[in-house]
């Protein structure tokens, strides 16, 4: 071992007696826990099996064959098998939209158009009924695709509303302010699950006889109602961070309320709210998993249903580890992005301050 490596070890792992003890305890724990896990997850794992009984053989580790067998079901739910390239393409489109929105060179007005176009295209792909694509009713949508739909359409619908609500909360008009505060605090005070229950059992009671909304849309409405309140608080944080001088300057130019907001305040407020907005989106993305409780067929429901098949039952650990990995891939990349963006934006602001 080179002297540099030794120095590093001494400076970072063994710099004091308690630290050396902690290092040794952690290494001992790793020695006990890691080899059995590696053996279970990789060495003895069954990767491919013609039938489920291979996983039941003595001494076998993780049954990844279960995932290999069910991956189409977990990704696309009960979407017609021959048509599953459509949700597959939809997932790729969603990811492309996320990536494009993450690039700062693409923060231009056309990005909004790209979103409208992209979402319309995804809707067309999923429903079909045009260009020779067979129609698929939304009861059959499912899996990862449904999770992405719930999260993305939910935020896309909630975001504009949340700006209005945030402006309402900072309004000078008492009735508008009170209504906004009551809505925001009420929604934030109750668990999402109660809103989902409300949407699934109470919404049908609210509608006039003969009008009905399907299950997916009902859940989507509840998710939007929920997201609006949380996003509004983030936007309000951005609005509060804008110095008063900006408001006064806009008023001095004689701009009306809406022109002041649209041209001067919101562009700055939303820009600094982007990192917390991404964090809210991550939380919302995770929260879509709650629709399993009202029986909607998202990624998590698909995993649970796949486990219900008696031949494959008992592989819950593998199944939920896989589901965790999928959620982690999306959430972790978004959270890393938001952290980097926060740093970049902060650096930009410091730069501006120095120029002053």
């Amino acid at each position: 071992m080179s002297a540099r490596a030794l120095n590093w070890l001494r400076a970072n792992l063994f710099y004091s007696v308690p630290s050396a003890l902690a290092t040794l305890v952690l290494l001992a724990l790793a020695w006990k826990l890691v080899p059995p896990f590696v053996e279970w997850a990789f060495v003895n794992a069954v990767w491919r099996a013609p039938d489920p009984s291979a996983c039941r053989a003595a001494g076998s580790g993780a049954c990844w064959a279960f995932i290999a067998e069910k991956h189409r079901f977990i990704l696309f739910g009960t979407y017609p098998y021959a048509q599953q390239w459509r949700p597959g393409l939809g997932i790729l489109l969603f990811i492309a939209l996320y990536v494009v929105s993450a690039l700062r060179v693409c923060w231009r007005p056309w990005l909004a158009l790209a979103w409208v176009g992209g979402l319309a295209l995804i809707g067309m792909l999923m429903w079909g009924g045009v260009f020779g694509l067979p129609y698929v009713e939304n009861e059959r949508w499912g899996g990862l695709m449904l999770t992405l739909i719930l999260a993305t359409f939910g935020i896309a619908a909630a975001f504009p509303l949340s700006i209005l609500l945030a402006l309402g909360r900072r309004s000078n008009m008492p009735a508008v302010r009170t209504a906004s505060v009551v809505y925001i605090e009420m929604i934030r005070g109750v668990p999402l699950i109660s809103l989902l229950f409300m949407a699934s059992v109470m919404l049908p009671l609210f509608l006039p006889a003969g009008v009905s909304i399907d299950k997916l849309l009902r859940a989507q409405i509840a998710m939007v109602m929920f997201a609006v309140a949380y996003l509004a608080e983030v936007v309000r944080g951005g609005l509060q961070a804008i110095p008063n001088g900006q408001y006064e300057a806009a008023e001095a130019l004689g701009l009306s309320y809406w022109r002041k907001m649209l041209l001067i305040i919101l562009p700055q407020a939303l820009r600094i709210s982007i990192p917390p907005l991404v964090n809210t989106f991550i939380a919302f993305f995770k929260d879509t998993s709650l629709v399993v409780i009202i029986g909607l067929f998202d990624l998590l429901t698909a995993v649970k249903v796949a486990l219900n098949e008696p031949a494959w039952s008992g592989h819950g650990i593998e199944a939920y580890l896989f589901a965790s990995l999928v959620y982690f891939a999306f959430c972790f990349s978004m959270s890393k992005y938001s952290q980097r963006l926060e740093r970049d934006l902060a650096r930009g602001r410091r730069h501006i301050l120095r120029e002053d």
Partner: protein, 395 residues
Amino acid sequence: MSTAPRLRRSWSLYDLRVRAILYQVLLVVAVGLVAWFLILNTTHNLEARKIASGFGFLDREAGFAIGETTLVAYSAADSYLRALTVGVLNTFRVALIGVFAATLIGTLIGLARLSRNWLLSRLAAGYVEAMRNVPLLVQLFFWYTVIADNLPGPRQALSPLPGVFLSNRGIALPVLHAHPAHAWMGAALAAGAVGAWWLARWAKRRQALTGQPFPSLAAGTALVLGLPLLVFLAAGAPLRIELPALRGFNFSGGMTLTPEFAALLGGLTTYTAAFIAEIVRAGVLAVDRGQFEAAYALGLRPRRAMRLVILPQALRVIVPPMTSQFLNLTKNSSLAVAIGYPDLVSIANTTMNQTGQAIEGIAIIMAVYLTISLAISAFMNWYNKRIALKGARPA
């Protein structure tokens, strides 16, 4: 800004104040109309489905059994009201224990992440990232499947510590055998706490008047711990630990956590601990290094510097997001319904399915959680006012 006196009041649509009134009237009317429309539809639908609205159903016999109860006894012959009470208490039970455990684990992990030890801080960071980026519900299902499907039966139960047994029937733990002296020890603890509080007040006032310090922290600790210890010794040290033992197909004696409770508590605790770790870390980092140096320059010993200078400032950053995490944990305990722990939501759900009283059921759920949320935010506002920097500009 014009200082000229207004000569006449014009009721023009171009007057901003007139417009403001108009907008608000429109908003109120719109909200009222929507509410009226919904109420009309709902009463119509309820009549059509022959569902009587109102809370009369609460007195009727529930007729379903509840797996576990806290504090109050319950049987299937009891009323819906009692069943819902059991649900509320079960929610409180898991939330209270969860808050304590998550704060403890979260603080340790947050401090570990700040450690200079590379291995320790990397591990803590990995824990935080893994927990924060996977939905809580997936984690709950994972823990539940680990306990209920993958642990051995009671006869082959794992025993990681003497007296602790892990099996697919839950977690069996040893408990202290109850003795009347224990209640007296609790009373002594309360008396000690009151005494310590009074002592600290007196010491503070004396120090302000005369400058003489008093070791109130040490004396207070001695009071809080010493009084119960005295009672304990005076009663003849009644300490008998009841170990769980295998009888037939399950454990008896000791305390058994059901798989549902154990999975929910474990999931909520480990998930929330990751968020608390980040809050603690941010709080410690928020205190400027210069504050340590200034405190040392004043001649304060490290412990006193920590207690008098660093902690009060770190807590100002830590407490507000911490309370919102406690609130989140309480709200997240409603996911119990997915793994079958009988919390408020899951019992209200059963009630709604049996009686069809959906509106009332959801109203009860929302009212309970709103009460908890409002109580916690009222406390928060009080606390924020108390610790706010004196003379600081309001944010």
